[in-house]
Amino acid sequence: MNSERDKRSPERDIAFDMARRSLWVFPAWVVLSGFIWGMGGALSSALGYVLVIGNLAAAAALMAWGVRTSPVALMGATLGGFIVRLAVLAGIVLGASQLSFFEPVPIAITIIASHLGLLVWEIRYVSLRLAAPGLDLQRPGKEQK
């Protein structure tokens, strides 16, 4: 698992693509949350978005490290990372709940909707790329997966 091929990181590409796509939707959702729940709602939505993107980025980085290292490290990084990330998410939300702007409903909606929405959005592209790799348009300077 330590070949030249493993230096590429599909996990990071996917996490980056999801973060890039979310920039289309996220500002509109923050503004909408601001209209519905006020400034606290907008800030809570922003926090939920940061949690989701940070969670995906951390998962991608841990998995990329695990693949580069060994299968045992991959298993450990994935399962250990899962527990640690859940604990960190809970810690951040418990800490943020002490702040005055915290609104539980917008943060809850943002976490579920952005995680699932971004995944479904990404999977459309990934399935097309896996089904018809010849149609994958290579970006300049980016290696073909």
Binding site: R5, P10, A60, M75, F82, F102, V105, I112, L119, K145
Partner: protein, 84 residues
């Protein structure tokens, strides 16, 4: 009587917090098993067919992210029970 009602109110709050914590923990068990299965099978696939590692890793990451959504649903229930 008022003291009794206040105590009952405190007990309800306490039980709500205990339920939220237990729910979050229990909601993480299923995705933990699922992620273990996904990664285990992905490692087997990469060991059997190293040339398809890129595709396997892509599918593995998406599979893990979808499985993790279940734990996030538990997390959201935890937030709503504790703070809403």
């Amino acid at each position: 009587m008022i003291e009794l009602l206040a105590q009952a109110d405190n007990a309800v709050d306490g039980l709500k917090a205990v339920g939220a914590g237990l729910g979050y923990g229990l909601a993480a068990i299923g995705p933990g098993v699922g992620i273990g299965l996904v990664v285990g099978n992905a490692i087997t696939a990469m060991a059997r067919q190293p040339e398809s590692a890129g595709m396997v890793r892509t599918t593995m990451f998406l599979g893990i992210a979808f499985t993790e959504a279940l734990a996030l649903i538990g997390f959201v229930v935890f937030i709503l029970l504790n703070f809403a």
